[in-house]
Amino acid sequence: MAVMTDLRGSPRRRLLDWIRDERNQRRIVIGLLAFVIVYAMFFVQLRNTPGVGELMRTFPLPSVNNLIVMCYYAILALGLNVVVGFAGLLDLGYVAFYVFGAYTTAVLASPLFNIHVPWWFVAPIAVAVAATAGVLLGAPTLKLRGDYLAIVTLGFGEILPRLAKNLDSVNIDIGFSIPGNILGLQWMAKDLDIIPLTRLVGPDTNVTGGNIGVNPIDPPILPIPGPWGAQLEFSNSNPTASFVLILALLLLVFFVCIRLRDSRLGRAWIAVREDETAAASMGIDTVSTKLLAFGLGASFSGFTGAFFGSYSTAIFPESFNFAISITILIMIILGGMGSLRGVVLGAFMLIYINETLLPYLGAFVDTPVQAVGGAISAVPLFGELLRTFTLTSYNFLIFGVILILFMLFRPEGLLPAAARKAELHGEGVSADETFGTSSEVAEAATDFEEREEGGLPGAPDEPDQPGGGAAPAGGGGGAT
């Protein structure tokens, strides 16, 4: 038995060592990126090729659109991770900043006000607007305890989509007058105008498009002629180009996150998360540190909002709701709060499960379950439920269960930040020391190995790819 373990262990150890080498990691990442881009470029053609298309359909491969959704959720998750994972501020209303990004884009690049600013200028403006909103909405919450903070941010997350919905006939009148009657008594001949009423906005100015949203929104355009036509358009009519754009944005954001985490500010965030009083007593200005977390975290969602609006060429107030905030939070928890790779993995996995895996599995499961339901249709409730069963319609139940199970059994997430952190400061120390000294790190390292063992042969970049993400596509998703 011991010998067997040894035999199995040795190549595994070598593989692990190979993976730990930074140069190899870089190679893997570049290789995977290249693979994913090629996959996106040829996906549609391959899918339409007879023979190959059928073969592809037998695997749960994500479509290019799915990949795009994965990427922009990954950016959102990275942004929320700055607030929740780094600074430890539980924000349940992250969607609020997303609203800012999307609606800034809608206002600046649509027929709504007939303004058509090129996307490349809109995006930085959306980032700035979202970041400002982050600071402004973050400011009043700074002194609140954890759960109150969560609820206040949730409140903001509910208020802003409502504003987006309701601000379709805005009248702003500036003025102030004392009413001539109070409590039914006429005590003055008429209202006393202290500042006469002046109309600032209106009459009935439509700021947000109201219930029907804004449609169309200008997509990002580059004036490069090519096989795609006179100019390159990054919208859902050209998913490959859009994918490359969002992938580039994701890489940019990921890179920024790494730099932030390893900076003086990143250390301050984590210190504030760990112990606010001690952090303040070490010279950290907790107020500005937290505000920076809100602002920078929000700025990423401004980015995503700008992309989402332009890519889908339309936005509706209904697409911004509490479920989005929570979905992003689940991604972070699933991947591991504070761990950048984990967060991206969590986002990829969740979207992959939701958009690709559940429909794929549903194709196998739905019909038999419905047949069973038909057979037992006499049983009240259950018969009916099974007869109309579709796996995809249980997605929130599945996510809810995942959330609870993770809280119960693995609150640190799939790829906790701990192991990563130790690696990072291993520069001056040998790898063995880094992984050998502290029991916590050792534990994380064992987890690494265990998961590697149970993991998939096809996913060398993420040795800790969980079994659940079972697919080559999952490996592709783990590129960054």
């Binding site: 760990e274 007593s281 029991s439």
Partner: protein, 273 residues
């Protein structure tokens, strides 16, 4: 010799004062935790604040470090009025501290803990960090070197990539001191640094405190519960009881003071002793 009866200016230590607290009072609702205390620390000295549990020592400490705002009185540090300063502003004037119940950043490595202490001595902005501007890279390298130096000073050289919460108790205490020293302080406040230590470790720590005072030119203020620890290293001792200063002076003087004995051993003990 009560606090009120003391002719204050005459008995105050003269010369170069690094900390000068005058008439400091802290009320919590109806409770007076610290009452009208004058307290001075001469530059370069080791001074102790002692007293039984609940005497107001930590409250006084928290007022110096900005965690509490005094209800009355003023605190001057190195020529600056720091009475209304926030904790992080106090640190920037040059006061570093440790906590009675160790408050390290448990999920950060020892090295990172010390780097957090260096936070306010660094100037780099986050956008420079994103761009890896050359200035910030040099600054970070210097900070890293300084942090390693401090860890080595505290005999923690091999521990730098360990998580703070995984360190043994004594190492945690020393790491907290390293973190406080990293703030580049002129005055180091140690809140019961020997709590939970065995006599050997205590002895080692007291030696160490004297050493850093001498080598780094610091001033040290110790809070201690245990009088024996204090007597060995302090040059001046102030005794608090029920929020009032009941004695002040050299360790020998304080040890002989009836009110001190009373406070520690209870009423009646003073008469017998």
């Amino acid at each position: 010799m009560t606090a009120a009866a003391m002719p204050a200016p005459a008995e105050l230590p003269t010369g170069d004062l690094i900390l000068d607290a005058r008439g400091v009072t802290k009320r919590f609702g109806g409770l007076i935790a610290v009452s009208d205390i004058d307290f001075q620390i001469p530059r370069g000295s080791i001074v102790s604040l002692i007293g039984p549990n609940g005497a107001g020592k930590t409250t006084f400490f928290n007022m110096i470090t900005g965690l509490y705002a005094p209800s009355e009185g003023e605190i001057w540090f190195d020529g600056q009025n720091i009475t209304r300063f926030k904790p992080h502003q106090v640190v920037r004037t040059g006061i570093g501290r440790t906590f009675q119940n160790i408050r390290l950043f448990g999920n950060m490595t020892a090295l990172d803990n010390v780097l957090v202490g260096l936070h306010h001595t660094l100037r780099g902005h986050w956008w420079e960090a994103i761009a890896h501007a050359p200035g910030i890279m040099r600054e970070e390298a210097r900070a890293l070197a300084r942090a390693r130096e401090l860890l080595a000073l505290m005999n923690l050289a091999g521990r730098e990539s360990d998580y703070a919460r995984n360190l043994p108790y004594g190492d945690q205490r020393r790491l907290e001191i390293a973190r406080a020293l990293a703030t580049d302080c002129k005055l180091l406040l140690l809140d019961e640094p020997t709590a939970g230590m065995n006599p050997n470790e205590t002895l080692e720590l007291t030696r160490f405190v004297r050493r850093i005072r001498d080598e780094m030119g610091l001033t040290v203020l110790l809070i201690e519960h245990d009088m024996k620890v204090v007597m060995g290293i302090s040059e001046r001792v102030t005794v608090l009881d029920h929020g009032e200063k009941i004695a002040e002076g050299s360790p020998t003087e304080v040890r002989a003071d009836n009110r001190v004995i009373e406070a520690y051993l209870g009423r009646g003990a003073a008469g017998q002793g």
